[in-house]
């Protein structure tokens, strides 16, 4: 289940990432066209704005799996391992509740916009449901992935497999993060 969640998260993040790269190219074309031909081809600014909003929700799951959502471990690092796992679970549950809050009210916004047929306030008049439904889907996937990580962590704790639980949901401490930056820097050379 966690393997599936990880694959889905990576897929979503890659799609969003290539969309960001695509908007870099699109914006460049627009800048050059504006400079050379004094025309604006496409609403690159509007489209890339939507891509960003979608990226935020589509990338959040992979960020969770990589434990990239920042947590302050001043206290966390000082307490015994068992208590640390409790804190990790509290952290995940708080993240799930806030995500559900956003997912719920984002869905409500989407439904209102579908009902009223809202379009963007630009020459393109993009129907808001198009970017917003992708964005809302990202919120729900993020909530589902968070739930899966919670279940997997509880499972690991029941098996008394503390290292596995830490790997799923522990704080990526400064030392660990530094080690990863370093491994990256070395692999790039």
């Amino acid at each position: 289940m966690t393997a599936l969640a990880e694959r889905l998260s990576r897929l979503l993040a890659r799609i969003a990432g290539f969309a960001i790269l695509g908007s870099a190219l699109m914006i460049t074309v627009e800048v050059v066209a504006r400079k050379l031909f004094a025309t604006s081809l496409i609403g690159a600014d509007e489209i890339s704005g939507y891509i960003l909003a979608i990226t935020v929700t589509w990338g959040a799951s992979l960020a969770l799996i990589r434990r990239a959502h920042v947590r302050i471990d001043v206290v966390h690092a000082q307490v015994p391992a068992a208590l640390r796992s409790v804190l990790d679970l509290v952290a995940l549950v708080s993240l799930l509740s806030v995500t559900l809050l956003f997912a719920w009210f984002a869905t409500r916004l989407l439904r209102t916009n579908i009902r009223t047929g809202a379009v963007s306030n630009t020459p393109m008049e993009v129907p808001m449901w198009i970017p917003q439904s992708l964005w809302v889907a990202g919120w729900w996937v993020f909530a589902a992935v968070t739930l899966i990580v919670i279940v997997a962590t509880v499972g690991a704790l029941i098996r008394r497999d503390l290292p596995a639980a830490q790997k799923l949901s522990g704080v990526r401490g400064a030392l660990e993060e530094a080690g990863e930056e370093l491994a990256d820097a070395k692999s790039r050379r």
Partner: protein, 428 residues
């Protein structure tokens, strides 16, 4: 109400909740406790309007630019060029550490990645030329922090968005302080090398032809800098568009060095999305919290409280600097910025401080936070690159540069023109 909110926030953060979740939970709790309407129901609108803007798009694009530059294999040649030019100074290639970090920083918005990349290239020099490890490690940790002061800078974009100030002006304002701070770092190295010759290592001298031929190594980062900064001030591009041009330029550089592969791009975009999503979730949650703070009247209460203290602007400034230095010892810098700026910056503006000047001050305070123990991420990165010896070496080695930063803060307060002159001269 003020005290409750503050204590609750500290408690949630101390519980090691993800920062975005801590801000969201605090918002809902305060709203239920003090709000007369269920403001939290606006969460959907707040999240959408604050994550779909074109200026915000500059964040992922600059992150992507940095990710591609890191993978384009330019660090070695660049470091080599700077070592040839700066190695004759007392303190030898430690000056190249500062120089390479500032130059690399100019193309990448991340202090941590800068320290890791230059650190990996530079560390073999300790043994080769007999440097005192402490000071050498300190130069790497401190040099890496210049990344957020010298444009382009992701942190400055976030500041600009949170305070509604002009990113082009902020970028211009950061250049002179960035150069002065780099010069202060180098002066500190020279001073220590003269006082304690045993840590200064060997100076390395090269002929002029060696220097000139090595200089090619600084061309790629210089190109990106000119492309990004030049297109903004040439009136061709907005900051977001300049970032997009930078991404295309970086792809070109990577391609010319045969580093452009599908795998490399995939890794770069994945890293970009994870970083962007992490930053933006905190921003969205911070906007949600601020909407609630304003609607329950806490922002007004805070303003009244501060004006009742009757502090003069200078006293207030000193209090804020001390606050950030202490907070920076414990808190990760990005979350520190996003949680505090929307509340503290408007207070400072109302006391008459210039938003652009204050932005530069914030960047230097954040740099300080990156190298003050116990939670200074750059210290850990450099220690990780080194892979041996006690952590205290790095902390001690970074100390002279913390002093240099304090000097810079005093200079900036005494002569605000350091930051404001260039943007005023060029943009009016």
């Amino acid at each position: 109400m003020l005290l409750t909110a503050l204590l609750l926030l500290l408690a949630l953060i101390a519980l090691s909740l993800p920062i975005a979740a801590a801000l969201g939970v605090l918002g809902v709790v305060l709203d239920r406790a003090y709000g007369f309407l269920p403001f939290y129901q606006a969460a959907g609108e707040v999240a959408w309007t604050n994550s779909s803007g074109f200026l915000l798009m500059a964040i992922p694009l600059f992150v992507l630019l940095g990710e591609i530059m890191l993978r384009s294999g330019i660090a070695d040649a660049m470091y080599d060029a700077l070592a040839k030019w700066l190695g004759w100074l007392p303190g030898g290639v430690m000056h190249a550490n500062i120089g390479a970090c500032s130059l690399f920083a100019a193309t990448s918005g991340s202090s941590v990645a800068t320290a890791a990349t230059i650190g990996t290239v530079a560390l073999p020099q300790i043994e080769r030329h007999g440097y005192g490890p402490r000071l050498f490690l300190g130069t790497l940790a401190a040099g890496g922090t210049l990344g957020i002061l010298i444009p382009p800078s992701v942190n400055m974009i976030i500041y600009g968005i949170l305070t509604n100030s002009s990113v082009p002006q902020l970028y211009l304002a950061g250049i002179i302080p960035g150069l002065i701070l780099a010069a202060l770092f180098m002066a500190a190295i020279v001073a220590i090398s003269i006082l304690k010759p045993e840590v200064a290592g060997r100076r390395v001298r090269y002929t002029w032809s060696e220097r000139l031929s090595g200089t090619l190594g600084v061309v790629p980062p210089a190109l990106i800098f000119v492309l990004v900064i030049g297109s903004i001030y040439g009136g061709i591009a907005t900051p977001t568009e300049a970032a997009a041009l930078g991404v295309v330029g970086a792809l070109g550089i990577a391609a010319s060095r045969k580093r452009l592969t599908l795998r490399m791009i995939t890794e770069a975009v994945e890293g970009t999305v994870v970083t962007t999503s992490m930053i933006m979730l905190i921003i969205v949650a911070a906007y949600f919290l601020n909407m609630i703070l304003a609607s329950i009247g806490l922002t007004t209460r805070l303003n009244e409280f501060v004006s009742a203290l009757g502090l003069s602007p200078i006293e207030m400034l000193i209090a804020v600097v001390i606050f950030y230095i202490i907070l920076g010892c414990f808190m990760e810098t990005l979350s520190m910025m996003i949680t505090t700026i929307p509340i503290i910056a408007p207070l400072m503006f109302s006391l008459g401080f210039d938003p652009i000047w204050y932005g530069v001050l914030m960047m230097i305070l954040i740099e300080t936070a990156l190298i003050t123990p116990p939670i200074g991420l750059n210290l850990y990165v450099v220690q990780g690159v080194r892979g041996q010896g006690p952590m205290s070496d790095v902390m001690m080695g970074a100390l002279p540069f913390v002093v240099a930063m304090a000097v810079m803060i005093v200079l900036l307060a005494a002569f605000p023109g350091i930051a404001t002159w260039l943007p005023n001269a060029l943009l009016d």
